[in-house]
Amino acid sequence: MKKHLQYYISSALNSYAVLFFSKNEILGVLLFIVSMFNFNAGLTGLISVLASLILVSALGFNKEDIKTGLYTFNSLLLGIGFGTFFSFNSTFWLWLSAACLLCVVLSVNLLSFLGKYGLPTLSIPFIITFWLVLIAASGYQGMGLVQKSSSLLFELNTGAPSHFTKLCHFFDNLNVPAYVLLFFRSVSAVLFQNSVLAGILISIGVFIHSRIGFSLLLIGFVTACFVNHLTGTYPDGISNYYLGANFMMVSCAIGGFFLIPSWRSYAWAIVVMPFTFLVLNALSRLLGFYNLPVFSMPFCLITIGLLYFFMLRKNPQKLQLTTFQNYSPETNFYQFLSGKARLKDFQYFNLSLPFMGAWTVSQGYQGEITHKSDWQHALDFVLEDMDGKSYNLPGIKPEDYYCFNKPVLAAGDGIVQEVINHIDDNVIGQVNLEQNWGNTIVVKHTEHLYSKVSHLKKNSIKVKAGDLVKQGDIIGLCGNSGRSPEPHLHFQVQSTPYIGSKTLSYPFAYYASENNQVLKSFEIPKKGETIQKPEINPYLKNAFHFEPGYINLVTDDRGNKETWEVFADNLGSTYFYCRENQAVAYFVNNANVFYFTRFYGDRKSILFLFYQAAYKINFSAHQVKDYYARDAERFKPSLWLRDLFAPFFIFTQHTYSNDIKPKNDGLTINIETKKQVFGHDEVLLNAEIHLNDKGIESIDFLYKNKTLKVKWETGLV
């Protein structure tokens, strides 16, 4: 029962908050309060939302989708609109429920229809429904819907002046510049109001929800006023209640919500203002013929149109669309930053070096010998000794060369696309220009991603077209066939399946430098570099190899106990779930590295400490330096300044570093996390994770001058 109530409350609040692209409960509550300023409208709004929620829940739509409020916020607008425009009478409720049903149907259908194109519905369902109602009601008096007179439209309370109306009047006539009052009134127009007090409350809510969002509202407003001032389009300012809201919402949607906030997106938010004027005015005129208000139609059309326009770009470069919507410009932005810097595992197919041991790049990308024009993104590898030679004296037979006859591996999982295996190995110094690529294997990894190895030894290839290969499988031997004066391995990535296809610049996921000193991730090796696969430390790999179903119990020396279990969500992302406090920490765990991506929940939990301590671990025991993903979801006013400037300049960050010390029966990971503000460091947390051959043994934390010892036990609890 409690769960049910929670679900309805949170869904309803989201229906309110989502009007400003938010899931913030504070904003939701404030919007609900403001909607009640016009009691009739607020009430019908609430009733509509609840009715719609019950309807979609009963009909069995996805609960997670319903919870976002996307199915029902149009009903909210409809309800408020109904309450604002029509007087209560006997037929009011009948037509409201009919319109509400229509609105829900439209919402669900449009959401799915536009969703296919990755586009939002915004308030289109509401606008269409309301237009239909208006057109119908004005033609058929018999329907019984009575429009309020326009003079009463914005009266909050038609009764006798009360304390509340006095308060509203007080704010309406505040002794501040008229533009400030206009701003707040325009904000309140989103809920069909025209009240400064309402605007102020909503603004506070929006600010708590998102600093970026609020600054964009302001930018939209200022730009619109400025354009209006220049052109004189509306002689009495953009005071008409719906005008300002359209501009501000466009600015908000384009500048920070559907695009990743940056100075570019802000520039677009400004640039589209005159454009919005054009559409708004034209629509107003057009709809004027039918006596229909434009509502937020200009905003919807412009936002959807621009979004689709941006989506069609082939190479988005710096102006990026939000790929995963977090309903917060800050979160979208910080996630984007952290994703770009940290989550390369998801950006690239994981390719590993196509050989064992340490090989030297003898010709890199844009090489001087043959890696030119269409084939410039290729790598040639040889084996070199301490003296830089690639052969044993006398070096006159292919067998004298170190790399000859050495195993060549599949760079990634895939299906063998093509194999050539019959070409003779050349005599040293001669090349075979007829069969340029020599013995070659092309492996298909994904659509439009193939890797190719060439100049292999005759008859050494152990796979045939159609075979499934796993990363690291031996597929052939290095040879000297084709255009190869001395034995070497040619490797390239290409987007088409043919031998001779043009090359594609593509990084190797993880590799180490010659002495295993430096770990490189998602880079392209350069000429002269000697590289090898990272040497995996068995202790680390064993300890951090968490798979769904793993359960452990941690106990700290203050007697707190937490039980963590590893799960995988629908998308296959793995996370720790704390049974005691429901905290969740998402992580990635592959052959080379373990790292956390996000944390949700109680920041006083041990899981949060572990999230901080094991933020990133290289299985190759290389040192880690990383930045924590920033977070904007908590109510933390001290970070508001950072958020406000974040799209342009970030002056604070939390750094993570670790260092691994071997022990005789395991190893210790020393962790330090720091807060950097304007380059000034402050240590936040020190931790030591102790490992043995069974896995993690214990963790010591030192933070805020307190120490905490945590014991780690595995096994079913």
């Binding site: 340490a358 003296d387 195993p407």
Partner: protein, 452 residues
Amino acid sequence: MKQKYERPTIRKMNTGLMNKFGTRTDFDPVEAIDGVPVKSLVEQYGSPVFVLSEKQIRRNYQAAVRSFKTRYPKVQFAWSYKTNYLNAVCRIFHQEGSWAEVVSGFEYHKALGNGVSGNQIIFNGPDKKEADLILAIENHSLIHIDHYDELYLLIDVCKRINKKAKVAIRVNFDTGVYPIWDRFGFNYENGQAWAAINKIVAAEHLELVGLHCHIGTFMLSTTAYSVAATKLCDLAMRCKTELQNPVQYLDLGGGFPSINTLKGAYLPGVDTVPSVEDFAEAITGTILNFGFAADELPLLILESGRVLIDDAGYLIGSVLANKRLSDGRRATILDFGINILFTSNWYDHKISVAKEAGQYTEETVLFGPLCMNIDVVRESITLPLLERGDQVVVHKVGAYNMTQWMQFINMRPAVVLIDMQGKSHQIRKPETLAYLEMMEEVPEYLIKKSSF
């Protein structure tokens, strides 16, 4: 310039067909080692003197690592201490990433002293004292059990100190090479090895982490290693499937030959000995094809010694005298013999002169300086005409000589390391009488002057 006096020599005239390979052996003088003149080495460190080339050690190590690591994903070398346990040498190998393979308590302590962490020391050999075992257990070293008595001792010790030991067993088997080295470890064919494995897995305080073999020394056949690898893999697979105790590593031991020529060999070692590449191909090919899952391939450990250091060592010595034997053969007496060149028992060492010599050569016997009949360095070698005081350079002496040499009649000489930059460092001082007498104790009654 005044020409060097060359003493007259008489050579028997041979008639008949010319030898189609010619008569010339190798007379190119070796005037410098890694750029350091032999003359200056002798001046600085005396004669005889052992010289080691750091460059060649690293070159050998890296070549061996390259041969294995380009063929197999998980490879670890462990430096065989007994081959040459001068600390400077060991540290070069440890710097390159090698673990330590020791066969006695003092070698174990030496490894610790060289900064090797306990879990990277492999403790082999039939003679492990109880105290050494306890130290090895506490340091989490890898203890390779050689016989049942050691196994029982280990079980007993572990129980007593209540600690777990990481162990492997040494396995011996028929690899087609005779004689079979069956005096070390547990036999595979008669089931002894499997029985020992079962005992270990059942023992509460022992953790079976690996399997070890060492099929012989100076092995001239790669097939023997394939056979050995197959048999070890078979045991490893059975450990996993039958005992649910997968082993982490297979230790194939050492035994790879250097390019020295064995006594009695018809052709020189350079031409007949298989290369490390060939052994790597045989061993890794066998393990990779045995059927382990890709992520369950065991770590491959190698304990090569000789092949990594033999050709990095030189011995410089001087001619003491020339004489003629009763049967008319020439004989040359050198200031080194089997006392410090132990390996002259095994090989026909290549010996060069240290300076330009004339075209005339003669066959001679090389004797050492001992007053013992057995002190023969080469029974017959063709060399240019040598004079008292001339220097000679013996090649490929890096393995075993600096550990098996004896202090007998003469003291042991200095050992010099030439570093990567061509600078020489004395890494072991020549012995002195004081050193020799350091451990001696004379009973009191022998010291008192007798009163007449």
